[in-house]
Symmetry: C2
Subunit: 351 residues, 2 copies
């Protein structure tokens, strides 16, 4: 039903990521690292990229040279973890210009190599990560044990060192109170469901992260294949739930979605939680074809309106109230250009 | 602050009315009336208008020739009372083409002669009523006692037979929980506060009817002058309350108003109560200059969206759900053409 398929399954799957945990065998692991070691991991990673003649494709983000806002923007874009930005002295990120590869240096492991793509493109995201892994491992001693596989700071990551994850938008399953069953089903096949920014965070805007629980006992291909299958299944369940909601009471469904659109287009004060709740309706409305707006643009708007990204739009630091005002004014502007000819669209496509 | 002053004080005073109760002295009063009497009052009233060569300026609405919907539309336009339309056999209304004069025949009294105008124009409304009274009384014996004045079915109307009333929009006073004090103050000077459709009805949309309690002991001029003064005072209080609300938190105030606008412009289902609540915000927003829409058009929309008026738009009878759908769709259409260039307007006039 999506008129603008920007990425496969993007009506449900926002983005996907494959992350590889790697450590240099000749440098102590994080817990026993000294300053010189931490500096060495960063310079070694940069050198590997230089040796591969790929420096122009990447940009280095040393945490200690960035403001708190700049660091948080990387988290809001899902390019780095909260753990990385808490390592303000030695943490660094090496991010590709297209933001499809991000290498976190001195997070829990020496290297956390990540490949990202919008929608459900886990195999391609894996290729991105493995290609970067090849570059970083070339002529560098990586901690690997023939019995245990890749060695990592935390044993849950040992083995393949791989975590595959997908950010999925499940508003209809949530409305129908079926998230409990989904989480249980995912648990049975070795996957876990987390909030928007990973472990211990909330599922704001009905956005959930699916990822494998352990990195041992299953091959990389197997984990990625299983997550693709699971994502396709949950996407089908979500579409079925959306269809049921619409069939149950189409007018009430459209009414709810369009009221959220109306508030976003007119409010003068928007806090983060309300914004996420309303944008979830907008994303759902676009997903089922109630409004005529590209999903990729909606996802971009969601990211841009997070607190740090929003703050960066202003010249001066903003208090909570100023953020609410700025968010509302930016959303009015962006959303009104995004959404077009809705009445026409509804009458032709749905009614 | 109102950019489109369609009628005096119309930012607060929606409309005003002067009503005169009259009875023919040679026909039994309502309680003792027989069929022939009731027919005689109607034909006599029509004849008086004919004798004055004014038939082309009026239209006769006999209740027994109208559908329930048609009868209710007259109530929603405030042209006739609920009491009149409950007299389905003999009740009639004689209404001027401009809908500024409405003569109810066989309501509680033989004749209830009403003059209506938008905004606060009570003296002109009184002129309209007294002129119609002259026409109807010419060569007809009207029940009048030199001690008691005009005689009426209910003693509260005896004397002048005059009730002056004003429909006022008091959202800010209501929000600030000062309606109790206003009602008390009006009571002290002999005025009473009622809901939108008169006695025992609710003040939907923060709309209240102010009127004199008795018709004896005070001259017509005195009652009208007092109500004008009272309306001017309450209008000033309301404007002061609006100013206080805006000064207290302008962004929160505009936010609340514009959210209501946004919901009205986008909802697909609107029940009557919610519609009235949201339109009260729209009327307030227009009154203080937050939105650029003529108040007279807003008042017209409020009337047009009442259940019977709305039903008449459809070919077939509508159930409650259909009414909600039709109301939402009509409001989207009307309001979007009414409201223009809001952001610009706000930045120039208020901010």
């Amino acid at each position: 039903m999506n008129k603008y398929p920007t990425a496969p399954e993007s009506d449900v799957v926002v983005s996907c990521r494959v992350r590889l945990a790697r450590n240099y065998s000749d440098i102590p692991f994080a817990a026993k690292m000294e300053d010189a070691h931490a500096k060495e991991t960063v310079s070694r990673a940069v050198k590997s990229i230089q040796n591969a003649n790929m420096l122009s494709m990447y940009r280095l983000f040393p945490m200690n040279e960035m403001s708190e806002t700049e660091r948080k923007i990387l988290v809001e874009k899902h390019l780095v973890s909260l753990d990385l930005i808490s390592n303000k002295v030695h943490g660094a990120a090496i991010i590709s210009t297209g933001e499809t590869v991000s290498i976190m240096v001195n997070e829990e492991d020496h290297l956390r190599i990540q490949g990202f793509l919008p929608g459900l493109q886990l195999e391609k995201a894996a290729q991105l990560a493995f290609h970067a892994d090849d570059v970083l491992s070339k002529n560098a001693p990586i901690a690997f044990d023939s019995k245990w596989g890749y060695l990592t700071a935390c044993p849950t990551n040992a083995g393949t060192g791989l975590r595959a994850s997908a950010l999925v938008h499940l508003p209809a399953i949530t409305i129908m109170k079926k998230m409990g069953a989904v989480i249980q089903a995912f648990g049975k096949i070795g996957f876990t469901v987390r909030g928007l920014y990973g472990e211990g965070t909330e599922a704001e805007g009905n956005l959930y992260q699916l990822s494998n629980q352990t990195a041992m006992g299953r091959s990389e291909e197997d984990v990625i294949r299983s997550l693709i299958d699971a994502c396709e299944q949950v996407a089908e369940q979500e579409r079925e739930a959306r269809k049921n909601l619409i069939e149950h009471d189409q007018d009430a469904f459209i009414d709810k979605m369009m009221r959220s659109v109306g508030i976003l287009l007119n409010a003068r004060l928007l806090d983060e939680k309300e914004f996420m709740r309303l944008m979830s309706d907008v994303r759902l409305a676009a997903g089922v074809g109630i409004i005529n707006a590209p999903i990729s643009a909606i996802d971009e708007l969601i990211t841009k309106m997070q607190p740090a990204s929003l703050s960066s739009l202003a010249e001066a630091p903003l208090n909570a109230r100023d953020l609410m005002l700025l968010r509302a004014s930016e959303v009015r502007l962006s959303l009104s250009t995004l959404i077009k000819d809705n009445d026409t669209f509804i009458s032709e496509e749905i009614k």
